[in-house]
């Protein structure tokens, strides 16, 4: 597998080898950052979330079993960090309705982008996670299930429901996942 953790590196990282850990981490930072940016819709918060997740991953590296894929394990930590960040983010709450009302040209392409962002924000976190992982990071449902810590069927259900709720505010064609 492309992102299966190198057993030697994992062993070294568990022994406290920072270089080994950063070697394991490096290829994962881009998808991690894109996941966080998609979930939080804020660049600075996304950076912070990935940094926090990386530190937590370092502390928990002993929990990573040899042969386990590193990417879903780390993205799961990032997703968890995003949830924590959103809970504590009182200052960043935007009134979506107010934002939408203030837009004067609803057919404008830029408005459509804002509408979609707002529709994504309105999704429940577990649905947004699945939608972002599936449509933005282009990950397979099986890996998404590992990241979300849920069954394949549950993840597929979340994706369906997420698409349906997106459709309520944002006109899209029915999608078969």
């Amino acid at each position: 597998m492309e992102h299966a953790a190198d057993p030697d590196k994992v062993r070294d990282a568990k022994r406290g080898d920072e270089a080994a850990f950063t070697t394991l981490l490096r290829p994962l930072l881009e998808p991690a950052y894109r996941l966080a940016a998609g979930m939080l819709q804020d660049r600075q918060l996304a950076e912070d979330a990935v940094q926090e997740a990386a530190v937590k991953a370092w502390r928990k590296i002993h929990q990573l079993r040899e042969g386990t894929e590193m990417r879903p394990w780390f993205l799961g930590i990032v997703a968890n960090e995003c949830r924590t960040t959103r809970r504590g983010r009182w200052w960043g709450v935007l009134k979506i309705d107010a934002e939408r009302r203030s837009t004067e040209a609803p057919e404008d392409a830029a408005v459509r982008v804002i509408d979609l962002r707002n529709a994504l924000k309105r999704l429940r976190p577990e649905q947004r996670l699945v939608v972002v992982l599936y449509f933005y990071l282009d990950l397979p449902l099986q890996e998404i299930a590992t990241i979300a810590g849920a069954s394949f069927a549950a993840v597929r259900g979340r994706l369906y429901r997420g698409i349906r709720e997106l459709k309520a505010d944002f006109p899209i064609t029915e999608v078969q996942a």
């Binding site: 406290g16 920072e18 850990f21 950063t22 981490l25 490096r26 930072l29 881009e30 950052y33 894109r34 940016a37 998609g38 819709q41 804020d42 660049r43 600075q44 996304a46 950076e47 990935v50 940094q51 990386a54 530190v55 370092w58 502390r59 983010r89 009182w90 200052w91 960043g92 709450v93 935007l94 009134k95 107010a98 934002e99 203030s102 459509r112 982008v113 804002i114 979609l116 962002r117 994504l120 939608v131 972002v132 449509f135 933005y136 282009d138 698409i163 997106l166 899209i172 064609t173 029915e174 999608v175 078969q176 996942a177």
Partner: protein, 464 residues
């Protein structure tokens, strides 16, 4: 196209501008790994205790900022007593510059309350706002007009001797008004309680300076320009006392403050009652001037990429001067008592990857005036900053004790000016497109208001 691909494309279109290119995260992460890898149980316990302590303090701070009614601005500028916010102090008054044949002719001043309703409009120029926020003052030919900040109605016109290029100023307690004109070169003093001009004198020099009124009965007035002239007021007459001859606050031919500062005065008398601190917007100099000995006692220069990019604002207690460079996000906190500087970077989140180019290309921002890209909450805990050269960036919320960025609001908007109501509950921001947004302290929007074209800035309470 497959509908799934359509949605995928739209989601990429919506989220790509937010994420942009992946930043270089690894160096920051590696730095943080080291302390983690070396920590021992006792250290960890200490860390937990520290975190609990920080959380406790954070909860207290948060509750102060969000829940507790924030009282009137605890302004303690010497030598007056603390100022209590007056009626209308929570209403924003915004200038929109008018011109004829390319020449500035005055302002339309619009008042907007915390619910987003326009409460009044005034045609004026050279406006000032009383320290308690309750009144607006505007110089007109032969007089001073006084307006209510509640609804903008004119309360009275105080007769003045005609002045040209008048530089007006209020006393820190709002009881007195003074104006210096340069042809003829006169200083006039007005008692606002009685509504009458009480004294005037010839300044005796090509006066182009701002009058600074000191003392609860205006015992001294300093005309601050290329030199500083000190006048004594005995209740009836003004008498010249002293004039500097050496190094002063001269600011490359500009007076410190004045109408171009839009009320955001770059100078203040410290709580000791005899130290004047002034910021020179053209060269980034901060000067401490002893009003008793009439000498410069200390000077520092704060770096700025371009003259007039830096917006000054004083903490409510007057002990700290915050200097914010909107275009670059540089923030300097100048401890005026201990004469030290702490610097930080609070750049707004510009989504344009080439945004840094603007700092090279834009060189004439606000030339001749002082932008108002920064405001302090009345409890002195939060700094609100805007400004990214007419590019998206929104408003950045900075926690003042540690200058840490704690949030960004409206990141997709280009904002140019910010003001906080006297009770601290409402934040007003001006968009570059002549729009005003009224926000709560959690960043949520109350209203959006269209203003007359060429909006300039907020008229800020004058606290010299």
């Amino acid at each position: 196209m497959n509908p799934e691909d359509v949605l995928r494309g739209e989601i990429h279109q919506a989220l790509d501008p937010i994420s942009g290119a992946t930043p270089e995260l690894l160096p920051g992460i590696v730095q943080r790994l080291r302390p983690v890898s070396r920590r021992r149980p006792l250290v960890a316990i200490g860390q937990v205790a520290a975190v609990l302590g920080i959380l406790t303090v954070g909860v207290v701070v948060l509750s102060m900022h969000r829940a507790r009614p924030i009282g009137p601005a605890p302004v303690t500028t010497s030598p007056t007593t603390p100022i209590v916010a007056g009626p209308g102090a929570d209403i924003a008054w915004i200038t929109s510059q008018q011109s004829s044949g390319g020449a500035y002719t005055g302002d339309i001043v619009t008042g907007v309350d915390p619910t987003g309703h326009v409460v009044g409009r005034i045609n004026a120029r050279d406006e000032l706002r009383s320290p308690d926020g309750s009144h607006l003052y505007a110089l007109v030919d032969g007089g001073l007009e006084v307006y209510s900040a509640v609804d903008g109605h004119k309360e009275q016109t105080i007769h003045l001797q005609p002045v040209t290029f008048g530089q007006p100023m209020l006393s820190a307690d709002g009881h007195y008004f003074a104006v210096v004109g340069n042809s003829p070169s006169t200083l006039q003093l007005v008692d606002l309680a009685t509504g009458g001009s009480v004294a005037s004198t010839n300044v005796g020099l090509p006066a182009y300076g701002v009058p600074l009124i000191v003392g609860s009965h205006a015992e001294h007035i300093y005309v601050v320009g290329t030199t500083i002239a000190k006048f004594a007021f005995d209740g009836a007459t003004l008498r010249a006392q002293q004039r500097t001859t050496g190094h002063t606050l001269a600011c490359d031919g500009l007076v410190v403050g004045g109408a171009n500062s839009a009320g955001g005065l770059p100078f203040r008398v410290l709580a000791d009652g005899h130290t004047l601190v002034a910021f020179c917007p053209s060269d980034g100099r901060v000067t401490w001037f002893d009003l008793d000995t009439m000498t410069v006692t200390h000077e520092v220069v704060v770096g700025q990429n371009n003259p007039f990019w830096v917006s000054p604002v004083f903490s409510p207690d007057g002990n700290t001067l915050y200097l914010h460079e909107g275009g670059t996000g540089a923030l300097h906190a100048v401890d005026l008592v201990h004469q030290t500087i702490k610097s930080s970077k609070v750049a707004t989140a510009d989504t344009n990857p080439l945004a840094w180019l603007r700092s090279l290309l834009v060189t004439d921002a606000y030339a001749g005036g002082i932008p108002r890209t920064v405001a302090v909450s009345p409890d002195g805990m939060w700094l609100y900053t805007v400004g990214a050269f007419q590019a998206p960036g929104g408003l950045t919320l900075v926690h003042l004790p540690d200058l840490a960025v704690k949030g960004r609001w409206l990141p997709d908007l280009s904002l140019k000016s910010v003001w906080v109501s006297a009770d601290g509950r409402t934040i007003y921001v001006l968009e570059n497109a002549d729009q005003l947004r009224v926000l709560r302290t959690d960043g949520s929007q109350i209203a959006k208001v269209a203003l007359p074209a060429n909006t300039d800035s907020f008229i800020v309470a004058t606290v010299p």
